[in-house]
Symmetry: C2
Subunit: 335 residues, 2 copies
DNA sequence: CTGAAAGCGCTTACAG
DNA sequence: CTGAAAGCGCTTACAG
């Protein structure tokens, strides 16, 4: 079913002026073209009467840009990223940009595919939460001089703008909260991921405990995203069986937290009496528990806002050097 | 920063053939054009070497379609809709379509704006979860013969395809579950929304209770989306204060459930000992509670799949009559 | 088997 | 103050 489209030409004919005049008026450039007021008003009226909608393809083809940014998320079902998507859309709109949201499920191959789809759709820039195995694709993309901002994660070897949280600092504080609350045998459940954002979380945790002489490497459990439920279940059981004295756990991501707490509760572990828990990122489900679970609160709104700002700067200017921004997270919901 | 674009022409020059030949090869139409194999291979190789990416604007302008569908959601932060977005994207991809996801926050004005944005981006069709006050905008849009599928909600007066759940039936069953579990004084917390999907939920609940002679209109509390937290808090307090015998509550939507349960727990109400609860839609947070909460499980994946299928049919064919599809939800997680 | 050419709907430098 | 015309990059009917 093809809808009958009204073009600039139709308006021009109806009003009895040229395409150029209509285009000028419709784009609010009456002054530049010094169009007479009466003409401008007639054009506007005709556009309304005919129910004119501009054709973005023609415009984009001519102008060479789309006023669209491509957002590549690693896991849209994760509420942390869902929130990011929401805010990025809000801020992009302020600049007159739309956002095409795509999802990779932490797969590099899927990321490559999404990059292609978005490129062919002529997005003016990318905001990417890259996957662990996606460095080459991001690098390839950046070689084409496309504006890119990496969000939440980054590749240390690529000179590409990125907005991240100081993960080391956040984890360091989270670990200290456990220690200060009396935990002598804290465990960590974290992704087996070589990207610095995850490495930093592990390092922050490790160094905090080491400083207080209570770091035990056996209590750090690495899990994979692709087998998250089973891996966490195993990790927790190992932690409890091998080390019956475990009295604290730091869950190093949003999805790990949700699944981790679920398993603890299922096993009848009392939080915080038996085991104290600190999480990375907030989750709505925390409201369902009759006790407070402290968490690392990332400045999601600020991060989203900045990523749009930095991207816009890159899109507008011809030559920008990469902008790196590190934000600080703070502990929240401390009992 | 404008990236240097490679066009079909560049390939044509490099290989020494015409634009037409390149285009034919690139679109896999060698046979139609009966291009020689050697030429085709050369073209393909050159495209690779030059890192060619097709320009969707030019293609869309010429072809008159975008291979993109616009998805208008009422509340992207609601996991029910977030899931729908995920599945629709997956299924659309199978047809070679991309999805632009937008959000209205239950505002009709915002919906109007999103329709305009998506139209100007030449989407080939719309999948819309409409807002209560959005009937006129949807009606206006449908007059332009644009393919539309309404999802989850619909307007009874508009002859537009829609995929919904049989809400009456689902609520009827949910109410009966409360009754069968021994509830004599059930309450309902539901949106004050005149759209049939919500009306049906109320009606199903009401009629189930009426049949068993235990319907008490005072125990039905209407709340608004815009003031959801406060309204639910008030509704629950009223329910408990005015009717100390309340022994069951049906929360008629996903977001109502989450907030409602949170408030019940905060007030120290024991579920299900003091009050039994049934919810519309599943929520991850349910996993955090050491008891089972039954819920109406909508076939999200099927609904998403069907909405894409129906939309594709409308896009492909010139004249289709509206398709209405009602699916059945079932009660899940019954203790 | 392949090329030349028109045209999709815009915007903009240029001419008047 | 306004119009005629070129051109963005593609696809396709037509001619050869």
């Amino acid at each position: 079913m093809k809808s009958t489209r009204v073009s600039i030409k139709d308006i021009a004919i109806k009003v009895g002026v040229s395409n150029a005049t209509v285009s000028l008026v419709l784009n609010g450039k009456e002054k530049e073209g010094r169009i007479r007021k009466e003409v401008a008003e007639k054009v506007l009226q005709a556009a309304k009467d005919l129910n004119y909608e501009p054709n973005n393809f023609a415009r984009g083809l001519r102008m060479g840009h789309s006023n669209t940014i491509g957002l590549i998320l690693a896991d849209i079902s994760n509420s942390f990223f869902a929130n990011i998507a929401f805010y990025i859309q809000e801020y992009a709109e302020e600049y007159g940009y739309s956002v095409i949201i795509t999802n990779t499920n932490e797969s590099g191959k899927k990321m490559e595919k999404m990059i292609h789809i978005l490129k062919s759709r002529q997005v003016d820039g990318f905001i990417i939460v890259p996957t662990e195995d996606g460095e080459d694709y991001v690098n390839e993309l950046s070689k084409t001089k496309t504006p890119i901002v990496l969000l939440d994660r980054y590749f240390p070897n690529l000179p590409i703008s990125h907005i991240v949280v100081n993960n080391y600092h956040a984890s360091f504080n989270a670990a200290n909260l456990l220690i200060d609350s009396g935990c002598k045998n804290s465990g960590l459940i974290i992704y087996n991921n070589k990207l610095p954002h995850m490495q930093d979380r592990e390092k922050g945790y490790m160094e905090a405990l080491t400083k207080k002489n209570c770091y035990n490497p056996a209590l750090t459990k690495k899990i994979t995203y692709s087998n998250i439920e089973q891996d966490i279940s195993n990790a927790i059981e190992e932690l409890l069986k091998e080390n019956p004295k475990v009295d604290g756990i730091f869950f190093a991501s949003n999805s790990i937290s949700v699944i981790g707490i679920k398993h603890l509760l299922k096993l009848g572990v009392r939080i915080p009496e038996d085991i104290q828990v600190v999480c990375f990122d907030k989750n709505d489900a925390f409201d369902f528990i009759p006790f407070r679970i402290p968490y690392v609160q990332q400045p999601i709104q600020e991060m989203s806002k900045k990523s749009v700002e930095v991207l816009m700067e890159q899109i507008k200017k011809t030559n920008t050097i990469p902008t790196t921004m590190e934000m600080f997270a703070r502990l929240s919901n401390i009992p």
